[in-house]
């Protein structure tokens, strides 16, 4: 477990550092860390299956104002190695990952509190025109801070976690594990609810949510198949709206032309 524990510690620090916009979401996504974990532990397909199950909880999650609802990075980096090492099924893997996802939120709040200190330092460097100082505040201090604050949690979690969790799984009553697993099934609803809020600024398009929802519930189509229906629907509506606007413009122009002729 030492190798994978070291890996998780370093990966968690880098993911917490967030290099590259939009790419930072990939660094944190459990599916992404599943492949290297699988390679280290010698079971790539197993790691991918568990990584997918844990990722499902967080796929709809957005971070409004960068405030994360749950830390999918820590959930994956501890959940996947432990579930793989004790041979847990996906339901149990989710039950293991959920608590770490909650714990990670506090670590990220600490990160953004400490980052404020670097912002003050950058202000001072700016007064002196010290570019190198600003560069350090923008990149290197946050990296060091992430290594110090994040590495230990993921490392200890993986290195000692699997023995502790294996014992816990034996002691804990079935209903607790089932409860965590059920909670894991409902958790993605948070992300989706936030997304609905972002996307339905225009109230009139709200029903498209139900259209997609029941298309899958009744006919069980895949997400790619759903996208094949969704894209044309969106295009039709946009183009039809454009057509009717153009038509109105034509009529307005025609009307004004008639007026001109009358004169």
């Amino acid at each position: 477990m030492l190798g994978v524990a070291l890996f998780s510690g370093i990966w968690y620090s880098i993911a917490g550092w967030r290099p590259g916009y939009s790419t930072h979401e990939i660094w944190m996504f459990p599916l992404f860390s599943a492949l290297p974990i699988g390679l280290i532990m010698g079971d790539v397909p197993g790691a991918m299956v568990i990584g997918c199950a844990i990722s499902m909880m967080y796929v709809g999650m957005v971070a409004p104002g960068s405030e994360m609802p749950a830390d999918m990075s820590l959930a994956g980096l501890i959940g996947i190695p432990i579930a793989l090492s004790i041979g847990a099924d996906t339901g149990t893997a989710i039950a293991i990952a959920v608590p770490f996802g909650v714990l990670g939120v506090f670590l990220n709040q600490i990160r953004r509190i400490i980052n404020a200190k670097f912002a003050h330092m950058a202000d001072k460097h700016a007064l002196k025109g010290d570019i190198k100082g600003i560069n350090r505040c923008a990149m290197w201090y946050p990296l060091i801070m992430n290594l110090v604050t994040k590495f230990p949690f993921a490392f200890i979690g993986v290195y000692f976690g699997s023995a502790v969790i294996e014992k816990l799984l034996a002691i804990l009553p079935e209903w607790i594990l089932n409860g965590l697993s059920v909670a894991g099934g409902v958790m993605p609803a948070i992300g989706f609810a936030v997304l609905i809020g972002i996307l339905s600024e225009r109230k009139s398009i709200f029903p498209f949510f139900f259209l997609g929802f029941f298309l899958v519930q009744f006919f069980g189509v895949s997400s790619i198949a759903a996208a094949c229906f969704g894209v044309p629907i969106a295009v039709i509506i946009v183009l039809m709206q454009k057509d009717s606007q153009d038509e109105i413009m034509v009529q307005v122009k025609a009307a004004s032309k008639v007026d001109d002729d009358d004169e």
Partner: protein
């Protein structure tokens, strides 16, 4: 201010430099106090250094870009492009004030974040990530590579917006909005996004009743009754319940997650789920 003519000092290379610096460092130094302020300044440094050889003006420019800033990082490129154009204009003839540049940044970061959240995080990300998950659910590594598509896709339209912002300067957003296409793209993205969120939540959010009862000598699950009436009604209630809570009480994620875990535990103890 130096008297030498500085027109079109900014090359495509400088713009590219600004782009990748912003892309790389955007979230690294994010803090509660000033959000992406250091990242913005960090991205502007090469341009500012070129435009202001005079130290005093350079320091002033650095401070201008160290103020509170927060937006969606990909569509936010349009703001960076505009402020590069404005800094160039200011360095050239000195008519434009620094306050005007700061004011533009603060005025645009909110609306741009709204557009960016809809397009990048509301539509593009869930679409690519879920397709990746579907491809890897059976243990295949194909999904892993599909997920990486998110980077080139966002870089392409991020760079487009950066060069657009620079070319059209401070009128970029007005011009974009007037053309009507931005509104159409947002409408289309919102419709597709909502449709996909519906489809994805139907396959990903799970909530099932676990109890059974005997009927005519056969064991029947309560869930099968629910499915017979309307499949997926329980996950739908969970999503709508959380949506209603967020609308009323705001995004109190810690509370929501703890309530979900507690409720699931209690229902599990009672043997309902």
């Amino acid at each position: 201010m130096s008297e030498t003519k500085t027109s079109s000092k900014i090359t495509i290379k400088d713009l590219w430099n600004t782009f990748w610096r912003w892309w790389l460092a955007c979230e690294m130094s994010n803090s509660y106090e000033s959000m992406q302020s250091i990242a913005y300044c960090f991205a502007m440094i090469p341009v500012l250094k070129k435009l202001y050889p005079d130290k005093e003006a350079f320091v002033e420019a650095l401070q201008r870009h160290l103020v509170f800033f927060n937006t969606e990082g990909i569509c936010g490129n349009v703001i960076l492009g505009m402020s590069v154009a404005m800094e160039e204009e200011k360095a050239e003839d000195g008519v434009l004030t620094g306050d005007a540049i700061v004011a533009l940044k603060s005025a645009l970061m909110g609306p741009v974040a709204g557009i960016g959240d809809t397009i990048t995080w509301g539509t593009v990300k869930p679409l690519i990530f879920t397709i990746a998950l579907t491809a890897s659910a059976d243990g295949s590594v194909i999904g892993w590579f599909l997920m990486l598509l998110f980077v080139p896709v966002t870089v392409v339209y991020g760079w487009y917006l950066m060069s657009l912002g620079y070319k059209v300067g401070k009128n970029a957003l007005v011009k974009l909005l007037e053309s009507g296409w931005v509104n159409r793209i947002i409408l289309g993205a919102s419709i597709l996004g909502l449709f996909m969120v519906g489809a994805l939540s139907a396959s990903i959010v799970t909530l099932n009743l676990s109890g059974t009862y005997m009927s005519a000598g056969a064991e029947v699950t309560y869930q099968s009754i629910v499915d017979g009436i309307m499949p997926g009604v329980l996950p739908l209630c969970a999503i709508m319940g959380i949506y209603g809570y967020i609308k009323k009480k705001g995004q109190n994620f810690g509370v929501m997650i703890l309530v979900i875990i507690a409720a699931a535990m209690v229902l599990s103890l009672l043997g309902i789920v």
